[in-house]
């Protein structure tokens, strides 16, 4: 997640002097407003901007549901709303990591639905994911328990030892 204090000019990457700084600053402010909950840039129609923000969150929810079908299914009709609430101030890290981060945060407060526990536990056993970098396959055996599900990974194969 990026907060304004973390995304100063030094983090904005190389900027072409021919087009800096106006456009770069305007674009960054717009993306922050859409994804991190910072104030909407002045002069944009608030109703249309809000429609775009909500549409973006719903699109992300659909993408995450494809990567995390059990997580989405566990919420049923409430999925898009649940995801949009969680993601409203979290810019996307890609749908695989977004779903992973959401599942972990639900598990941490004992709110991960049982139907989604095995999906998370299988991935935790198969992959190493530190929450900030893209997940990598584990090279060593791993035993993992989360939300009542226990999984074991040996040589790349994952067994479910216990279901919630």
């Amino acid at each position: 997640m990026t907060t304004p204090s973390e995304s100063g000019p030094a983090d904005r990457g190389p900027v072409d002097p021919a087009v800096a700084p106006g456009l770069a600053a305007r674009q960054a402010a717009l993306v922050d407003a859409l994804t991190a909950g910072s104030p909407m840039p002045e002069g944009i129609d608030p109703f249309k901007f809000e429609a775009a923000r909500v549409a973006l969150l719903r699109k992300r929810a659909g993408e995450v549901a494809r990567q995390w079908p059990m997580l989405a299914a566990a919420f049923g009709d409430r999925w898009k709303h649940e995801f949009a609430t969680w993601a409203a101030t979290r810019p996307t890290q890609g749908s695989l990591r977004d779903g992973w981060d959401m599942a972990r945060s639900l598990a941490a407060r004992n709110a991960l639905p049982a139907a989604a526990a095995v999906e998370l536990a299988e991935r935790e056993a198969a992959w190493h994911y530190n929450g900030t970098e893209p997940p990598r396959s584990r090279r060593t055996p791993a035993l993992h328990s989360t939300a009542g599900a226990t999984t074991l990974q040996l040589a790349g194969r994952v067994w479910v030892l216990r279901r919630p």
Binding site: S7, A20, L30, V31, T35, G43, K59, P91
Partner: protein, 280 residues
């Protein structure tokens, strides 16, 4: 390439479709298909192609890579690794052209997760043109640029949409990928006349056309790609083809896939509206 005086002439491909793994079987079974598009970021540059896509290529179907993550409209220079992948996929598919959007998808290191509109200013024209030139430097085929559907506009715009698009095409030498559903959506949401835009675009530069469905929510028309193509969009296809028929028009569907018969009917409707033969 930027100095190209007249657009390259492509053969008439007729009606095509966006290839997606979920409808790969349906696409493979279209007897008359000669044109398809694939999301460039979903294709491995060097590894095996998805089986359905390879079958299309083996049959001689033209498959165009369509980039969605280059962020050509970003004030920041386009990422060289993304450009390299994009160019490698074009080679891999033996594509006669590639396409991307007039939009930005990230800023300040933060991903937006969607195509975002540019302010229609000269500064933005220059940013897009600079990035298109960077991409053209790695490509051996032409690039077509797609203006997006925007739910909102920026304040203080200096150019009309037609001027903005035309200037970018003129300065970069790029072709136009005209999304007729975006033309419809923008006109409807802005309260403008879509024919006015068609009358002011360089239609001889249209490499191909997207056709897609959408739906209205709370008074705004959303270009969803998950709903059926509405009749007014098909009517615009006819209006466009009456002015200058493009070499290819393709259906874009990105989810909530309907039964094969419904998809086939949508392709037939595009054929009828454009005057091209049915591919089903």
């Amino acid at each position: 390439m930027a100095d190209r005086l007249s657009p390259p002439v492509f053969p008439s491909y007729g009606v095509g479709i966006g290839w997606r793994p979920e409808i790969g079987g349906f696409v493979e079974g279209l007897p008359g298909l000669r044109f398809a598009e694939v999301v460039a970021e979903s294709v491995h540059a060097h590894g095996e192609l998805p089986p359905g896509l390879q079958i299309l290529l083996d049959r001689g179907v033209t498959v165009v890579p369509h980039g969605v993550r280059l962020s050509l409209g970003g004030a920041e220079p386009v990422d060289p690794d993304r450009v390299e992948h994009f160019a490698a996929v074009a080679e891999r598919l033996h594509a006669p052209l590639v396409s991307e959007h007039i939009a930005f998808v990230r800023a300040g290191g933060v991903e937006a997760g969607h195509l975002l509109p540019l302010p229609r200013t000269r500064e933005a024209v220059d940013a897009v043109v600079a990035n298109v030139r960077r991409v053209q430097g790695s490509l051996s085929v032409p690039i077509a640029l797609e203006p997006i559907a925007a739910l909102f506009d920026w304040p203080d715009e200096e150019l009309t949409e037609a001027q903005f698009i035309s200037e970018i095409l003129e300065k970069s030498g790029a072709l136009l990928l005209l999304d007729i559903a975006n033309v419809y959506a923008n006109a409807r949401n802005r309260g403008t006349d879509p024919l006015d835009l068609l009358d002011n675009l360089p239609l001889d530069r249209v490499a191909y056309v997207h056709v897609a469905g959408g739906a209205e929510h709370q008074g705004l028309y959303h270009d969803t790609h998950t709903d059926e193509v509405p009749q007014p969009v098909l009517d615009l296809v006819t209006e466009l083809c009456n002015r200058h028929r493009p070499p290819a028009l393709m259906l874009e569907r990105d989810g909530d896939y309907p039964p094969a018969a419904t998809l086939a009917a949508e392709l037939d409707a595009i054929a009828k509206a454009s005057g091209y033969p049915a591919v089903t």
